[in-house]
């Protein structure tokens, strides 16, 4: 099960009232629970002292659903209904508008699904425009609850991971690294969004945004949803300012690292932590250790595969799609923004996100097939190396830390981890990004449209 929830469908026209809960709810719960189960396996691998066996997947799965996902979902769903999110099994309503026209209002059990799509970092909306839709996200307060839901479980799980590996402080350090990257992203995004667009007559960036939210919560959401591999949107990312778009793409390019998906964010950042410890650990003059386990060739290999495979998928598929007719046919924008659309699509698919520069017509067979490939490689290309890594670490002897050990519970570790994450991401994607959002930013400043 991938956790991408690429939504090329508008829920209200293509899915019936019954398929939404049965198909999507079940999938939303199970994929989130799978993420938690893999995270637990990894934690057991790290704490295991020359043991084999990573725990029972089914027990983890059921417990995650019963004790974490379901109870929180119920609370969130009820709050959302109180704000006006619809929750019924009625037929669509044909309303007669004030001017005498007709407006079909879609109905259905939206609140129950919205709750889990936000909490489980799935992101697939009940309606086509996702959380921009007034029935899915009717008030500023529902908006607040929804974006809070994006972060709550992924960030809590990082802390839990610290507890599971008996290094609470390490969990807090991982969490701090995530928050710092997140806040840097939010800063850049807001700075850019609160400027005006000289290319469109100096208007603010309100295209694709809802008045009830305004620019701040919309930009904030775009950072959160891409950082946490959620993929739900409350504004159209295609119309974000170029640098806010850049932050969104870059967040996804980093992989599921800055919070990431439920569970998957933890193992995403652990892969980076292992690389960090390896590179920096050498600098203290010892064979690098992560949480008491020596990092050796096999471990570096699995960590590198888990980090770089999604990157490779994004680069290859985007590059191809920008030259073949099947790919170019999907673009709705010209110039660098068209490039960004394709880049966004594959980055989102390969990194388990699901949000889009939705102008790209992704429902063509070409994009359906390629994004599916990207999703599968992006999800299992990470999970399989992570499980292999857990197994490899689990078989190792535990090395007790000494003063000569590279400390993974210090602020220095946080700085290093951030540097490695950002530099690896930046070095891999900088060329592609310069030809997309970066050049678009400069064009826009120059007042040019294409």
């Amino acid at each position: 099960m991938t956790n991408t929830n690429w939504q090329a469908y508008p829920g209200e026209t293509t899915l019936s009232d019954l398929t939404q809960p049965l198909g999507l709810n079940v999938q939303n719960f199970l994929s989130a629970a799978t993420g938690i189960a893999v995270m637990a396996a990894l934690a057991r691998g790290i704490t295991g002292r020359q043991s084999s066996g990573l725990g029972n997947f089914w027990v983890d799965l059921v417990c995650s659903i019963l004790y974490i996902l379901l109870p929180i979902s119920i609370i969130v769903a009820v709050i959302l209904v109180s704000q006006g999110v619809v929750q019924n099994f009625s037929h669509y309503i044909d309303a007669k508008t004030l001017e005498g026209g007709s407006q079909i209002l879609p109905m259905g059990p939206a609140a129950s699904q919205v709750a889990i799509k936000q909490l489980g970092t799935n992101g697939g909306g009940f309606f086509g425009v996702n959380s921009a839709h007034p029935f899915e996200n009717p008030t500023p307060f529902s908006n607040f609850i929804e974006y809070l839901s994006i972060l709550i479980i992924p960030s809590a799980l990082v802390y839990s991971f610290g507890i599971l590996v008996n290094r609470r402080l390490h969990g807090i350090m991982l969490l701090s690294a995530m928050f710092i990257i997140l806040f840097a992203g939010i800063g850049i995004s807001l700075w850019s969004e609160f400027h005006v667009n000289p290319a469109i007559g100096g208007l603010p960036f309100m295209e694709g945004k809802e008045v009830r939210f305004g620019i701040f919560p919309s930009a904030l959401w775009s950072v959160l949803t891409t950082a946490a591999s959620n993929g739900s949107v409350n504004a159209m990312h295609d119309s974000l300012s170029p640098l806010a778009g850049l932050v969104a793409i870059f967040n996804m390019m980093l992989g599921e690292v800055v919070f990431g998906g439920v569970g998957s964010g933890v193992y995403g950042i652990v892969l980076f932590a292992i690389l960090t410890v390896f590179i920096a650990g050498l600098m203290v003059g010892r064979t690098p250790e992560y949480l008491g386990k020596k990092i050796e060739t096999r471990d570096v290999f699995f960590a590198v595969i888990g980090v770089l495979l999604p990157c490779a998928v994004v680069l290859i598929l985007s590059s191809i799609s920008l030259v073949v007719p099947g790919g170019l046919a999907g673009l709705s924008n010209k110039g660098p923004h068209g490039l960004s659309q394709v880049l966004y699509a594959f980055t989102s698919a390969a990194n388990n996100n699901g949000s889009a520069f939705a102008g790209l017509n992704a429902s063509t067979p070409y994009f359906t097939i390629l994004t599916s490939i990207a999703m599968l490689l992006g999800r299992f290309g990470v999970i399989i190396p992570v499980l292999a890594l857990s197994d490899s670490l689990g078989r190792k002897k535990y090395t007790p830390p000494s003063t000569g050990t590279f400390p993974t519970e210090s602020s220095l570790f946080v700085i290093l981890l951030i540097s490695v994450i950002v530099i690896v991401g930046a070095l891999t994607f900088f060329p592609a990004l310069t030809l997309g959002p970066i050049i678009e930013h400069f064009l826009m400043i120059g007042g040019r449209t294409l």
Partner: protein
């Protein structure tokens, strides 16, 4: 084999729990606690449903306050947005066209939200500015006296919603609500010529 069997069994139990029981439980709670909101916050009168307070409607007559441009023309099936990027020539063109259309009705600077389309295509709100600049054309179309126009202004000010609990969101005006109030106060305009704007 045993593993697979128990796997399938667990999957089925979880599917029923999350796919059937969970939405039903939420529905029962919602229909009991917030029946109006759970059913779409509908507005009805004269035995008819006029729409939802949450979903924007299309208004083209100058007697009404106009909402934001909508790519789907406030058709809710499906909802949709322009998805034009910030350097899109098409977007620049659209803004220019809208600006040209609005200029006869609105004097001075046209607020950005009247030129730029929303994400959902169903945005029920406009900014307070966008409501205030439209008082002129509503008053003119309805032939309101200066006194009535002042009343209209009062009405608009009354319908400006402040951020939720002072914290969440931006100040805004619900166009449908405002137009209903205008109709209530000054009467319903004749509907010929609607949707020709």
């Amino acid at each position: 084999m045993r593993n697979l069997k128990s796997g399938i069994l667990i999957f089925l139990i979880m599917a029923v729990l999350t796919g059937v029981v969970y939405p039903l439980v939420i529905t029962v709670i919602s229909q009991t606690a917030f029946p109006d909101k759970a059913n779409g916050s509908l507005l009805s009168g004269d035995g008819e449903i006029h729409g939802s307070i949450l979903a924007g409607q299309k208004f083209t007559l100058p007697e009404y306050f106009w909402p934001r441009p909508s790519i789907s023309e406030y058709n809710a099936l499906p909802s949709g947005a322009s998805n034009q990027g910030p350097t899109s020539e098409a977007l620049r063109q659209a803004v220019e066209d809208r600006s040209r259309e609005l200029t006869p009705y609105i004097s001075g600077q046209i607020p950005a939200d009247l030129l730029l389309a929303s994400g959902s295509g169903l945005d029920p709100h406009i900014s307070p500015d966008a409501a205030l600049v439209q008082i002129d054309h509503v008053a003119q179309a309805r032939n309101l006296s200066a006194e009535q126009k002042a009343h209209l202004r009062e009405l608009v000010n009354q319908y400006i919603e402040q951020p939720q609990w002072g914290v969440f969101g931006a100040p805004r005006v619900n166009v449908l609500r405002l137009n209903l109030a205008v109709d209530d106060t000054f009467g319903k305009p004749p509907l010929e010529g609607a949707n020709q704007h």
